[in-house]
């Protein structure tokens, strides 16, 4: 039976189920197929911190949202059009986000009385009319899967576990996604267990056929490929892009890469990824703690490697003393903080941007550290290159602030040509750089480059340049221990001047203001780029000019930042914290920046941001109920 096909410009699907239901895998596979189909996309995995939270409970719900479109999109979307709920907990936890009139696909096999009670449903939402305003598809996914796998020599439990593949097959049919890659993926994953592999493939096909044959679904949807800029694309998550950026940076610098790291969510994937690339001159060291992770990285940097340490907020707190040492030693070091909800253990698997001030000031003494932040998953690659560039050129630790949303979120990424990557060649000092009073050549470890104020990087093994460095204040030029008041004042100001001077070596802040008429500027940093850009589109579509600018460098700020800010009547700063960038901007530029803040562990909804921006607009407010990122294209 041929079914009707309807074209959509974009769709948001959320897969939700128990932690053990394989929703992340399902989402990941759907994403991969969507990417290769050529849609633009953005994803948001959202999973519990517990590895296996109690089954069927609200805290145990794991979800994966994907937004895909036939045009460029900025965010994983605010409200899903489709919710796949594998059990009552998944339905209950996610129904509030679903767009009115949205589609719900539920696994009725899990809607038992006990399961309903467990999450506080007094009556079965599938039976009462509480879901009347949605398009509900109640399907016994588990029993259909088990039925389809009857002929296989596997246990019932194993058959049941394939239900996510059935769901994936069904959704693939519904949205016309290719399944070849998923089949290849499954073949690799279950290559050693042929029966399980065959069962999963069969479940996938069964899901597809179910869509095609049953009358539950009358319409099949089509989302055409997006017209993205020309090039070769892949789908990539922030943590993978960041890892590749480090590999590429080491290669561009001609040095080895040494990662010292202690496992911590959501940064561990960088350690995992880099540990697989030894052929690229990458050494990974899983340290005994966060302090040893940065310590070893600093030791390797002293020896002439690109030293990197990766962590999340609590780990950054532990590293701060060594970070201060790196400031004092003036050695290159890259510290990556994949921010998560805080304080303390906080929300390990959720996103936040509340480590900005820790990155900026979280050390004893005056210890300035340059800060860079990527704005999208794919941009993590370029941010890593930039962090390495600054670290090696200025002999300074650099902080890279990613976050949980960037780390796990994915987007299509235009793969850069290796030949176009920047030249980051480093030259070590190999000769004495001064003469003593008697005219003999000597090496002065703190004799600076007059341009960059960087000191020489002379690595052990270089004859004639033997020298000692340490955390005690050093005399300018010679590096000998010095407690002299004037010298300390000079050294503190010089280290600050070195970091401040980087402003002349980074691109200016660029403003996006299509009409040039805006008098409100929305300034952001890091992963809020997508939601802010989507919100600005909505606001413009509603007839209000608004300007957007996004900071890649947070210390120092681009040289033109003050000029840009002062051009606008109002500056709004959306942040996933309580106004940390706003504090810096106000303090630095005396600009009345208004923070718009949220600390829910989730990215901003663009609609909420658009409303917040509109609230700052002079004219009367339009009706927001008609505004969505999707509706404006």
């Amino acid at each position: 039976m041929a079914k009707e096909r309807t074209r959509r410009s974009d769709v948001i699907i959320r897969f939700a189920g128990d932690s053990g239901d394989g929703m992340q895998l399902t989402g990941d596979r759907f994403t991969s197929a969507t990417a290769s189909f050529g849609n633009d996309l953005s994803t948001l995995p959202d999973f519990p911190a517990e590895i296996r939270a109690p089954a069927g409970t609200l805290p145990g719900v794991s979800a994966f949202q994907i937004h895909f479109a036939d045009h460029d999109i900025m965010t994983p979307g605010d409200a899903p059009d489709v919710l796949v709920a594998m059990n009552p907990a998944a339905l209950k936890a996610n129904i509030g986000d679903l767009a009115r009139g949205g589609t719900i696909i539920v696994n009725t096999d899990e809607f038992t009385k006990r399961a309903l009670q467990k999450v506080g449903y007094d009556s079965d939402p599938l039976a009462d009319d509480s879901l009347a305003s949605y398009s509900l598809h109640a399907i016994p996914l588990t029993s259909l899967t088990v039925g389809a796998l009857e002929s296989f020599d596997i246990t019932k439990k194993e058959a049941e576990r394939a239900k996510n593949m059935f769901a994936l097959g069904l959704l693939s049919w519904l949205y016309h996604r290719p399944m070849d890659q998923t089949k290849v993926f499954l073949t690799e994953k279950f290559g050693k267990k042929p029966e399980i592999l065959a069962a999963n493939l069969a479940a996938l096909e069964a899901g597809w056929s179910f869509g095609e044959t049953t009358e539950t679904f009358e319409v099949q949807y089509e989302v055409r490929p997006a017209a993205l800029p020309g090039g070769t694309y892949r789908n990539i998550t922030g943590n993978v892009a960041l890892s590749y950026g480090l590999v590429a940076a080491a290669r561009c610098s001609g040095l080895g890469l040494f990662l010292g790291s202690y496992p911590i969510t959501p940064a561990s994937d960088i350690l995992h990824e880099l540990s697989r690339h030894k052929r690229f001159g990458v050494t990974t060291f899983q340290a005994e703690d966060e302090i040893a992770g940065i310590g070893a990285a600093l030791g390797a940097a002293y020896g002439g490697a690109i030293g990197v340490t990766t962590t999340s907020g609590p780990g950054l707190a532990l590293k701060s003393e060594t970070l201060g040492l790196a400031v004092a030693l003036e050695l290159p070091l890259v510290v990556i903080d994949v921010q998560r909800g805080g304080p303390s253990t906080g929300l390990p698997t959720k996103t936040e941007q509340a480590d900005l001030l820790q990155a900026m000031f979280g050390r004893n003494g005056e210890a300035p550290v340059p800060i860079v932040a990527p704005q999208s998953p794919g941009d993590c690659f370029f941010a890593a290159l930039e962090a390495v560039r600054i670290a090696t050129k200025y002999r300074t630790p650099v902080l890279l602030l990613s976050d949980g949303y960037l780390a796990n979120g994915a987007e299509p990424w235009r793969i850069p040509d290796v030949a176009d990557l920047p030249d980051l060649t480093v030259s070590f000092t190999t000769e004495p750089n001064d003469t003593d009073a008697d005219g003999n050549p000597v090496f002065q470890p703190f004799l600076r480059d007059p341009q960059t104020l960087a000191r020489p990087w002379a690595v052990p093994g270089t004859a004639g340049l033997e020298h000692r460095i340490g955390g005690i204040e050093k005399a300018d030029v010679t590096g000998a221990i010095s407690y002299d008041p004037a010298n300390h004042d000079h050294m503190v100001r010089t280290r600050q001047a070195k970091v401040d001077g980087i402003a002349a070596d980074i691109p200016p802040l660029v403003v996006d203001d299509p009409t040039g008429e805006a008098d409100v500027l929305v300034l952001g940093w890091g992963s809020t780029y997508g939601p802010i850009a989507a919100a600005c589109r909505m606001v413009r579509e509603a007839g209000h000019p608004v300007a957007q600018a996004h900071l890649r460098h947070l210390n120092p700020f681009p040289a033109n930042t003050g000029d840009v800010l002062r051009r606008y009547r109002r500056v709004i700063i959306p942040e996933m914290n309580l106004g940390q960038l706003s504090l810096l901007i106000r303090g630095t530029f005396l600009v009345d920046a208004r923070p718009v803040t949220q600390v829910r562990g989730l990215p901003f909804r663009s609609e909420d941001l658009a409303e917040a921006i509109l609230a700052e607009m002079p004219a009367e407010q339009p009706d927001m109920s008609t505004l969505t990122e999707e509706s404006l294209t």
Partner: protein
Amino acid sequence: MTTDIPALELVPRTDEKQSAKDFKSDQEVRWCPGCGDYAILAAVQGFLPSLGLKRENIVFVSGIGCSSRFPYYLDTYGVHSIHGRAPAIATGLSVSRPDLSVWVITGDGDALSIGGNHLIHALRRNVNLKILLFNNRIYGLTKGQYSPTSEVGKITKSTPLGSLDYPFNPVSLALGAEATFVARTIDSDRKHLTSVLAQAAAHEGAALVEIYQNCNIFNDGAFEPLKDAGIRDEHLIRLEAGQPIRFGVDGHRGVVRGSDGQVRVVEVADVAESDLLVHQPGADDPGVAFALSRLVDPETLDKTAIGVFRDVARPSYDRQVREQLAAAGEPASSEDLTALLQGPDTWTVV
């Protein structure tokens, strides 16, 4: 050229004749007059030329404390880092630079209190570090608080009624931490100190050398029973590989392993000569070495063993990292980088 010492085979060797003077830096040494650190510094400066290594390939990394000023006084590469972290920093350096001979200078507070974690992990990994732990059983730089090796009941500024915490025995600790080389020596015994340093240098992997060091300002005479020429021979057990363990004036005391498995001190006259324990630092089982480290009477220091307790072969962490890197295959080319960036699934937009 590299040295004849297999453990240092990757470190370039010099043809120039070196002397202790070559290892003296231009910095004025600033320990208190009479501090045991002077003797250790002189011994190390005197010992380094015997390695025949290029000076620029030797690095000393220290933490914080009186002893940690050590690197400033040696004309090699050196890092005076932060409290307790020297083993971690040295690990990154050593693992990424096999052509360096890396030494860690630390003290009882630095290594066993604030840096305890890094010390035990460097030892169990067997990172190619030579760790010299100056044990003066007191905090010197912060002016005299008790340390994790101070005897119970120690009256100090922070413990006016006597310290309550039971001390670490650094040799026992290192043995428990899977160390492959553990030794103890004394600042004032230059010959013994030098011989232990030589054995540590020849060991592949982590070597922990505890050096009893006198702090004449805050804990003077802490090791006097082991130094006083009149009484020390009676107390001090000098461990020699392959030799029956005898000590005391004229060797009247000896160490045996009883039928109950316990290691104890006896009068040699009371046992058969053949019953004496023969010291075997290369024994797989660290049990006897541990027992030897426990013979001491903490009050009087009687039965203090010095020398090499343990020296066993286990591939260093550094070596194994190198092997994994080498086994990963040919160094990646720029085509490999392209392939990495592309991954298995790409699509093209025209």
